[in-house]
């Protein structure tokens, strides 16, 4: 309530300087920089929850059915005597996936950096609509609370996998989590989608309309291109998930049969007739696959910026980078069927989706090679952000290459839904996007908080994480090729897989070490926020516009006029200049030619 009162006051003061109280500054803020921080901190908390879930799952897989104090402490009634319950295992699988994909790597990543960087890098005072931006954050916050609170309902949270395929997700008698837990999941996601749409529309409108003088589309930093295209994919595909969720709610609560037909469960025939679960799979993956790129493209955009800045070189092939972002975005909307090769869909469709899917490898390869060429003959400044960006390119290649196997329908038959898939997508979108997020945090922390992160802790954080990420996911491909299905609570009912148990223990140890070392980052993050070294205005000697704003945040970003832009963002080490960077706001000297990119 208080906020509304404050809002009216602010309007009464129209024309004066905006009065800022604690509530309008830190809680119901409409300033994009504050909203970015809100997204970041909420995303970080959700990330901690999501990672803890994955560590519990890993411990269960490595030491199945053994009492574990951690389970007892954290899972309560779901782990009697400290032995994890099979139902809660599936719930952890489900909520871990949902939280990491949507709440951390979509909202946490895009929400933070699109909000922070779009106005600052294009030279705008704020987002096109500060109010919608605020609403977008608070909807995200509410959906996060609902999602986490589903752990506290009687029959447990949703447990049908993050893909929530009906009928499992539709029938409370099929699974405990498909009752109240699933309802909360659907409500939470519906609110999340609303938040995401408001955010995306705002980003698109801002990029199109609010660029400062001279900031043509071809002078945009690649970060902005990535955020812009990501927002467009989001606007196109998220509504489809919303429709799927609404239809599922109808099936669950109002007796319709969109996704259900001919079901006999627990001794009775249900009335559903004529629907198809395969329809749900189509709707789900029409978002689900673009979602991969909604997660990945911002990370790649951030990487482009950081690799160029820290290599002290222009990003190689700017036009090709933009073209490949556009190509990936387009292709991402016509490949969803590769998740459904063996769903019972017509095999001819499988052929079509194999073709379109493998095409995505081409723009992806172009991007990877362009990153590598950017490093070539550079003057690499190994800041933590740079290490995470190089790490991203490395995991993007390793994880992306196995996509050639999974995208090939004939090969997918045998590795579908095995740990091979788990290894593939965790490397290519999970770890890569997480690295992108870390890189962004290390790079723009001074812009957000006016202080520097400790670089040595950053180095420790990166190297341990990098070793552990490979230690976890590289061997995982091989247990997948050995046929081990994912989402199994324990493998002990299959002596066939006994020879993989040791590998699973090794993977879990890497995961635990990697997980614990994230505490180094959290410590660095929160300690540096208050006690870090004070930042200078342009610590990385970067060309982009955000570094022309003062270290202390001001409402409207630039105290005076918004500077004009005269060149692209990548004039690093340009011949004819004394220093190795030329800010975008610096006019061309007489006779200097702007690169025709």
């Amino acid at each position: 309530m208080a906020a509304h009162v404050e809002d009216t006051h602010a309007h009464d003061d129209h024309g004066h300087h905006h009065k800022e109280t604690f509530i309008t500054k830190y809680i119901f803020s409409q300033d994009h920089k504050m909203i970015a921080k809100q997204y970041l901190i909420t995303g970080t908390i959700m990330g901690v929850i999501g990672v803890m879930m994955s560590l519990m799952m890993r411990m269960q897989i490595a030491w199945p059915e053994e009492p574990n104090v951690l389970f007892k402490a954290l899972l309560g009634k779901w782990a009697p005597e400290g032995v994890m319950d099979a139902d809660i295992y599936l719930a952890l699988v489900t909520i871990h996936g949902t939280i990491m994909v949507f709440f951390v790597l979509t909202a946490g990543l895009s929400g933070t950096f699109s909000n922070l960087l779009i106005p600052l890098q294009i030279g705008a005072r704020d987002m096109a609509s500060g109010f919608l931006n605020m609403v977008s954050y608070w909807l995200f916050f509410i959906s996060s609370v609902i999602m986490v609170s589903s752990f506290f309902v009687e029959a447990g949270p949703a447990a049908a996998g993050w893909t929530i395929y009906p009928p499992l997700s539709a029938l409370p008698m099929a699974q405990g989590g498909s009752g109240m837990g699933m309802t909360l999941w659907l409500v939470s996601m519906a609110i999340f989608i609303a938040s995401s749409l408001l955010g995306s529309l705002n980003y698109v409108v801002t990029v199109i309309n609010l660029r400062t003088k001279g900031m043509s589309m071809t002078r945009l930093p690649l970060t902005i291109w990535a955020f812009f295209v990501t927002a467009i994919i989001g606007v196109i595909s998220f509504p489809v998930l919303l429709s799927a969720a609404l239809l599922l709610i109808m099936d669950r609560s109002f007796g319709t049969s969109f996704f259900l037909s001919d079901i006999f469960i627990q001794g009775e025939v249900l009335h559903y007739q004529g629907g198809s679960p395969v329809l749900f799979e189509h709707l789900f993956w029409f978002l689900g696959h673009p979602e991969v790129y909604i997660v990945l493209l911002p990370a790649l955009g951030i990487t482009s910026e950081i690799i160029a800045t820290n290599s002290r070189k222009p990003i190689f092939g700017y036009r090709a980078m933009v073209a490949s972002i556009l190509a990936i975005a387009f292709l991402s909307t016509i490949v969803w069927g590769h998740h459904m090769f063996i769903s019972g869909m017509n095999p001819f469709l499988g052929s079509v989706f194999t073709f379109t899917t493998l095409l995505i490898a081409i723009p992806s390869a172009v991007k990877a090679f362009n990153y590598i060429t950017t490093l070539w003959k550079g003057n690499l400044q190994m800041n933590p952000a740079m290490l995470f960006s190089i790490g991203l390119v490395s995991t993007f290649i390793t994880g992306g290459l196995t996509g050639i196997i999974l995208g090939d329908s004939a090969l997918d038959i045998n590795v579908h839904d095995t740990y091979f898939v788990v290894a593939h997508f965790h490397l290519v979108m999970g770890i890569s996007a997480l690295y992108g997020m870390f890189a962004g945090i290390y790079h723009w922390f001074p812009k957000m908080f006016g202080r520097m992160l400790n670089k040595k802790l950053g180095y420790i954080h990166f190297w341990v994480t990098a070793v552990c990420a490979y230690g976890v996911f590289f061997p995982m491909h091989f247990i997948g090729m050995a046929g081990l299905p994912r989402r199994y609570y324990t493998n002990s009912n299959f002596p066939l897989f006994d020879d993989l148990a040791n590998v699973n223990v090794v993977i879990t140890i890497f995961a635990l070490v990697g997980g614990v070392f994230q505490l180094v980052f959290l410590y660095n993050f929160f300690a540096s926020m208050f006690f870090g070294k004070k930042a200078v205005q342009n610590p990385w000697r970067s060309n982009t516009m955000e570094w022309t704003t003062p270290v202390e945040h001001v409402h409207g970003n630039w105290p005076g006029e918004i500077p004009e832009v005269h060149r692209w963002a990548y004039d690093y080490s340009k011949p004819g200049h004394d220093v190795d960077f030329v800010p975008q706001t610096q006019p061309l000297y007489e006779g200097e030619e702007e690169l025709q990119h």
Partner: protein
């Protein structure tokens, strides 16, 4: 208590790291840039060398994985006619991936080492080169075209098997959390069925249509027997939620979807007995039994029962999350000679005879 202790240990580790960083900082006093938190030449050097080390780590972990798990029987020992095609395609793809991975990771990490920053050095201004761009667009196009064509031929031949050779029709019926198989009987034709016709009291558990004469001689079993060398056409049904019939040794998988019938077809080429005698499988089973023996020792020491020794059998696993006991939804598959198969089939009850009369 243990939880508290582990948290304490973690806190101490963090404090120790912080102290180490502080000590490192103290050693840096005097060099003026040490406190800007921006990478210095020495940071660039250390991390450059670490990049080389990391490259070595990636190679080592790759080699270990390939040597230790590269020849798992599931990768090289298929038991169906189309299996070798899939495996060959897999091997070709793996070679391509291995090659690209080795080269690109080398370039990435080697450049990161070679061009590590030094004060006063200037990077080369190199923003674009159409020739290079064309090269790394066209090469992937050619390689992928090859893989796509190969893949599509394999896929089409697996999914559209020759209809002329008169396959045995078997229904795989999924329910939470077990599998049933249904054979067409003497006429090799499955009777009509729908879950609405399920009558537990009459033991009509799969909902067969009692008025359909084709259903009378259908045979319902809890083990899947297949004659070697004969094509089998599986018709999949599910009565409750999605399941997936995964038969990894045969490189076969298809979802079971309530409300529709899905299908998959393959020809088994090795009997269970033959598979058990292959050298790869013998090694694998011996290895597994060693592991189980070790574990049994631990168990008996704790006063629990020892594990049974393992003998290989083909399996049908559920590979689509289906509820609480998803992790234990399996059915044994036995591939045998035609004579053994016929003999086994004769011992099974036909549907008509298995019905209980309602009272």
């Amino acid at each position: 208590m243990t939880a508290l202790l582990s948290i304490l240990v973690l806190v101490f580790i963090l404090v120790a790291i912080w102290q180490m960083v502080k000590i490192y900082d103290l050693t840096q006093i005097g060099s003026s840039e040490s406190d800007t938190q921006v990478a210095t030449d020495s940071d660039n050097k250390i991390n450059g060398y670490l990049m080389l080390g990391f490259l070595a780590f990636i190679y080592v972990i790759t080699i270990i994985c390939f040597v230790k798990f590269g020849d798992l029987p599931l990768m090289s020992n298929s038991a169906s006619e189309h299996g070798p095609d899939v495996d060959n395609l897999m091997i070709i793809s793996m070679i391509v991936i291995f090659f690209v991975q080795t080269v690109t990771q080398f370039l990435l990490h080697y450049f990161a080492f070679k061009y590590k920053g030094e004060k006063g050095k200037k990077a080369v201004f190199f923003a674009d080169n159409n020739k290079l761009e064309a090269i790394w667009t066209i090469i992937p196009v050619i390689v992928l075209a090859g893989l796509i064509i190969n893949g599509l031929f394999t896929w089409t031949s697996i999914m559209n098997p020759d209809k002329g050779n008169d396959p045995i029709v078997v229904e795989l019926y999924a329910q939470q959390f077990n599998w049933k198989a249904r054979y067409g009987g003497a006429d090799n034709t499955l009777g009509k069925a729908n879950v609405r016709l399920i009558d537990i009291d009459r033991a009509n558990i799969l909902g067969l249509d009692e008025s359909d004469p084709n259903a009378e001689d259908d045979i319902i079993t809890t083990e899947l027997h297949l004659p070697v060398g004969k094509p089998v056409l599986f018709k999949m049904r599910s009565q409750d939620v999605l399941h997936s019939a995964y038969m990894p040794h045969f490189r076969a998988q298809m979802n079971c979807v309530p409300g529709m019938i899905t299908q998959f077809s393959f020809t088994p080429t090795k009997t269970t007995a033959e598979m058990r005698e292959t050298p790869e499988m013998k090694d694998k089973v011996a290895n597994i039994n060693n592991i189980r023996l070790e574990k049994s020792k631990e168990l008996t020491a704790k006063g629990e029962d020892a594990l049974e020794s393992y003998e290989f059998d083909y399996l049908l696993l559920c590979n689509k999350i289906c509820g609480k006991s998803h992790y234990n939804m399996q059915m044994k598959i036995i591939v045998e000679t035609q004579e053994e198969y016929d003999a086994w089939l004769k011992t099974q009850k036909v549907f008509k005879g298995s019905l209980v009369s309602a009272n």
